[in-house]
Symmetry: C2
Subunit: 323 residues, 2 copies
């Protein structure tokens, strides 16, 4: 049905109006910035008009499209997995980051960063078929519960950002995820939960090889999709400079600067600023996860859009809509 | 206009019939195989029905969508480039594969293979912005002339395969290029000439880094998209197993076997067999370029579709249509 509607919208040039499509955004500068931007680049009579094939939008995932506290959700998957597999790996008792996981040392795990996380995933799934791994994540994400919110992880996606993705797509944008998260972890739920297909999900990867009709995961990390590597990932996977970039941390700054440096198009850069300690979490300059420090200064100086989660969003999560 | 038509076709479920869409294919087994396959996987009442989001089709490029004789077309670009840049690189006189290029030793160049070719591209464009490189290729391809056919290289695309791509897209398939060719070389002309967007072009890559808003090419090769690395490239870039694969050489065999090993869908594997010495070239088991030996045996045993270019195609190149 969504496909049919989108087809009709594109066919007849009946562009959806923002007032319909961003109901969870309060009226304010952030919403104005988004609507004005989309209007000007899709208006054939505007000097800022950009043809649909060049309307590339890139979104970070953790902290931008769903929560990332008290730790990246993939980390909780990794912890559950390592614990389940520990009896087969006595060496983990003395090897980091496994040691921290088995000793329930959260600080040690968090300190190992995205790379440590990917090491855990890679090592614990080495020799496994990538498709089987995705099935495993899929089962986990449907049964596991967030340690603070006590809800499934997929309940903790940001409703206003989901509306923004739909709004951009309805206006001919091609939406990509460009995240530090593991690619198979994301592919296991993003297509179903966000409606973004696997070929538009870019993430960190492990080494793999082809064997007997299958893709087999190896132990080594191949590519960490963070900071200056995000523009590199966009180059390898998309091959076009984005016109709109959405992030929440210093890890997204290079991707947003790369977007801003587009010489051929008016661009939009938007930071989600976590200011809502009540409904979500409040953190920025000093956070160990999703630190937003250099990026916040840069965004202010360059007049990027900074979403104040507390002020700008009527609801944070989809389940609040049902109240 | 094409976009509008496609929108209407998809919106109202009016699927284009093959008789309209494959006019350059002679009636015969290859055309029957293609049409029957597309009909059965797009028919909601068929047990072979596959939802549109899973209709992933992968095409090799050199020898599958355009000619590759007497050498990969990218090689001619590399030769022209090396000659133009040679005065700045005295060391090339004694270093292969540059030495062979400067001495006009075609056999030496061909023997260096796709890797040698990528070395030439990488070394001759090291330190260059990837976007500027694409502009350079774009100028070259619009002015250079094929040494045998004496036509622009983009005249030497296969008309029946272009029709096949359009036919698949009109039936909801997502079409990707998965080629050993350099990614920036392909991105410079494929979107315009084949109508396939850059994010659906997968190829060999060089190392790059991000610097001051630009992607800068380095000298090292990053990924050779050939043989067993084609399924790996599909995994990294698409994340779904294809249902249809099109190739012409042993270099495509692994990608086609990976497609054939799809447990969840009926699949189509098709080899273009170069049998037409008059209109194009005739070569297979003993060719140095586009060798089709193991693949030909494998295809016969497994009843894959083998296109006999001479028998199956009314025309090879688009310019023959004008006769």
């Amino acid at each position: 049905m969504k496909q049919l509607l989108l087809g009709l919208i594109l066919s007849f040039g009946v562009f959806a109006t923002a007032s319909d499509m961003l109901p969870s955004w309060n009226e304010g500068q952030s919403k104005i910035d988004i609507i004005n931007y989309v209007k000007t680049v899709t208006d054939k009579n505007s000097i800022n008009f950009i043809p649909a094939e060049d309307r590339i939008a890139v979104f970070d995932n953790d902290g931008t499209l769903w929560s990332e506290q008290p730790a990246y959700f993939q980390l909780f998957f990794a912890i559950d997995t390592v614990r389940a597999l520990a009896p087969k790996h006595p060496e983990w008792k003395t090897t980091e980051p496994f040691k921290s996981v088995l000793e329930n040392n959260m600080q040690g795990i968090v300190d190992s960063g995205k790379e440590g996380l990917l090491k855990i995933i890679a090592a614990s799934h080495s020799g496994m078929d990538a498709a089987a791994f995705r099935d495993e994540v899929n089962v986990w994400i449907k049964t596991a519960e967030h340690p603070v919110k006590h809800r499934p992880y997929t309940d903790l996606i940001f409703q206003p950002m989901m509306e923004l993705i739909d709004y951009l797509e309805a206006n001919g944008f091609k939406v990509f995820i460009v995240s530090g998260g593991g690619i198979d972890f994301m592919r296991a739920f993003i297509p179903e939960v966000y409606g973004i297909p696997s070929e538009r999900i870019i993430g960190s990867t492990g080494k793999v090889h082809y064997e007997d009709g299958k893709i087999i995961k190896e132990t080594k990390v191949n590519f960490i999709d963070d900071k200056e590597m995000k523009p590199v990932a966009i180059y390898y996977n998309i091959g076009k400079r984005p016109i709109a970039a959405f992030g929440n941390s210093d890890g997204d700054l290079a991707m947003m600067q790369y977007t801003d440096a587009n010489q051929n198009a008016k661009t939009l850069q938007l930071y989600v600023h976590h200011t809502d300690a009540k409904r979500e979490w409040a953190y920025d300059r000093k956070s160990h996860i999703g630190q937003l420090n250099k990026g916040l200064d840069y965004a202010k100086i360059h007049h990027w859009t900074i979403v104040d989660m507390k002020q700008d969003w009527k609801v944070v999560y989809p389940f609040e809509l049902k109240k």
